[in-house]
């Protein structure tokens, strides 16, 4: 097994009295793309959000178990959540650029973490290039980000995450609001990003999971049913449930 970048052990999550994630054990390998698949409401997004502590915002969420980034305990009290979120970036389902200009969307992220001012333009340019957006926006960096197309907005959101040089990027159905061409661009982007980053992506789209994943985790009703390489999951899944789901019999 390759280097493990991100992991969860005996993870249980409750919203109030509802038991949402049940005994999840999972390891994400470094510089790979891992897809989380499963029917709606199975806990994929909830699991994803555990890793950058987005559930901190939900007052009645209770998390048990150990989550680690390398050797760091993600939920350790002393470790600052802002530093953690710099190391584990997140891209959301709906593109969510801030109501600022394209440039400010990027510089906002950098300023939060006290990057030196004179390096900003250079860092922003290289992150936009890495996200295949530079050529399209270099003339109009002052334009409001919401004026971009949906696909461009999403690439901007990815660039905004990439500019902080995180170690892990979490993506929550990043293409579900986009058209096929934009989706294609984002998928290419994901494949090129995995050289430098560990990527965990939630997706509803089986074809997409096959196109981009190294590993695939299938979840159902809050449990991790099967976790394997994408060939094994899609061609010879060990569990009947997984087989049925990936072949489109339910879900």
């Amino acid at each position: 097994m390759a280097d493990i970048k991100l992991s969860a052990h005996n993870l249980n999550l409750y919203f109030g009295t509802k038991h949402i994630l049940k005994n999840i054990d999972i390891d994400f390998s470094k510089n790979k793309v891992t897809s989380l698949i499963g029917p709606s409401g199975c806990g994929k997004s909830t699991l994803l959000r555990c890793f950058n502590r987005m559930h901190d915002l939900t007052p009645d969420a209770k998390i048990e178990g150990i989550l680690k980034l390398d050797d760091l305990d993600i939920y350790k009290k002393k470790y600052s959540v802002t530093e953690l979120r710099k190391r584990i970036g997140m891209v959301f389902q709906k593109p969510n650029p801030l109501p600022k200009s394209i440039y400010e969307n990027m510089s906002y992220a950098l300023k939060l973490h006290d990057f030196p001012k004179n390096e900003l333009p250079h860092l922003i340019e290289s992150a936009l290039k890495e996200s295949y957006l530079w050529e399209e926006v270099k003339e109009e960096l002052k334009k409001p980000a919401v004026k971009l197309s949906g696909g461009q907005q999403q690439r901007l959101c990815i660039a905004r995450t990439v500019v902080l040089r995180p170690e892990v990027i979490l993506m929550d159905e990043p293409c579900s609001a986009l058209d096929p061409i934009s989706t294609r661009k984002i998928e290419d982007l994901i494949l090129s990003l995995k050289r430098n980053y560990t990527i965990v992506i939630v997706t509803h789209n089986m074809q997409q999971a096959q196109r981009i994943s190294d590993d695939v985790a299938f979840m159902y009703l809050g449990e991790l049913i099967e976790f394997d390489t994408y060939e094994n999951i899609f061609k010879n899944a060990k569990k009947e449930l997984t087989k049925n789901y990936v072949s489109g019999h339910f879900g």
Binding site: L57, T82, R85, M90, K94, A109, C157
Partner: protein, 295 residues
């Protein structure tokens, strides 16, 4: 009931509701026309130039002075002072309520703040005379605590419920995805609030301030009781003042009918009306923009 009857009943109610709606508009129009008519009568006696320049409001006798300036400056001063106090306080309270307060505290605080609006202005004025005014006198070592500062503090209290309620709506209306975007980049709650949430809520916050300001400008009883009643040009917040509203309230009862003085009171009321009307319209305009943003 046969169809004929139903139809005529339907027609009747339709007209009745239309009439009540139109009545409101007629009242607004009527008030405005009345103010305008009397203001024109005033302009026959006193040149508008003298009205808007000059430094003295000293009506009544044959060569009375009718300059709105000291009253207008008083009104502006006391209202501006109240906004300086109420705007930061109101917006921060609203931000606290919507972003930080636990639900239980919210459930207590919100009705309490709304109750603040239910206190009669005469009670607040009373508070100004016996409590805030003497406090100010002591604090600054002056004789008379009944001054513009006193009025500003009291008006701030009265404008707060409006400002807080509307600001909170505005802050709540900022899409959650903005906050998530900021937080996921590693911003803390405070940075997110000041750099993302509040800027995104600006149109609504402006509406809140405008409507609060309208309230402060139009308030009468409190400023009448608590600001010292001196119709002279104020030099600062520690001077006693008299606002337009207070002037009308005090002098209207004793003024001889259809004299220059009588018309003058209508004229200053008309000026105030135009100011508050435009501020309210501006506030509504921004509030409407907020509603579009929510949809």
């Amino acid at each position: 009931m046969d169809i004929k009857k139903r139809e005529s009943l339907d027609w009747f109610f339709k007209q009745a509701f239309k009439a009540t709606g139109l009545l409101t508009i007629c009242m607004l129009g009527g008030i405005f026309l009345m103010l305008l008519y009397n203001s024109i009568a005033f302009a026959m006696d006193i040149k508008p130039v003298d009205f808007f320049t000059g430094y003295q409001w000293n009506p009544g006798n044959a060569n009375g002075k009718y300059s709105i300036l000291p009253l207008l400056v008083s009104t502006g001063l006391v209202a501006a002072g109240s906004m300086i106090i109420a705007v930061p306080l109101g917006i921060f309270t609203a931000a606290f309520l919507s972003e930080f307060a636990p639900p239980k505290l919210q459930a207590v605080l919100k009705p309490v703040i709304e109750m603040l609006a239910a206190i009669p202005s005469v009670a607040i004025g009373f508070l100004g005379i016996v409590l805030v005014g003497p406090g100010i006198a002591k604090l600054f070592g002056i004789q008379n605590g009944l001054n513009a500062l006193n009025g500003s503090i009291l008006l701030a209290v009265m404008a707060l419920p409006t400002i807080i309620t509307i600001s909170e709506d505005a802050i709540n209306a900022v899409p959650k995805s903005y906050r998530e975007a900021s937080l996921a980049l590693g911003a803390d709650k405070w940075t997110t609030l000041f750099k993302v949430t509040i800027p995104a809520a600006y149109p609504g916050l402006i509406a809140a301030v405008m409507l609060g300001l309208g309230r402060a400008l139009g308030e009468t009883m409190t400023v009448l009781m608590a600001t010292g009643n001196a119709a002279a040009m104020p030099r600062g917040f520690l001077d006693s003042i008299r606002t337009i509203t207070a002037t009308v309230a005090i002098e209207m009862g004793e003024v001889p009918y259809r004299t220059t003085h009588y018309f003058a009171l209508f004229a200053i009321a008309a000026v105030l009306f135009l100011i508050t009307l435009s501020i309210n319209l501006l506030g509504e305009y921004f509030a409407n923009r907020l509603r579009k943003f929510q949809a």
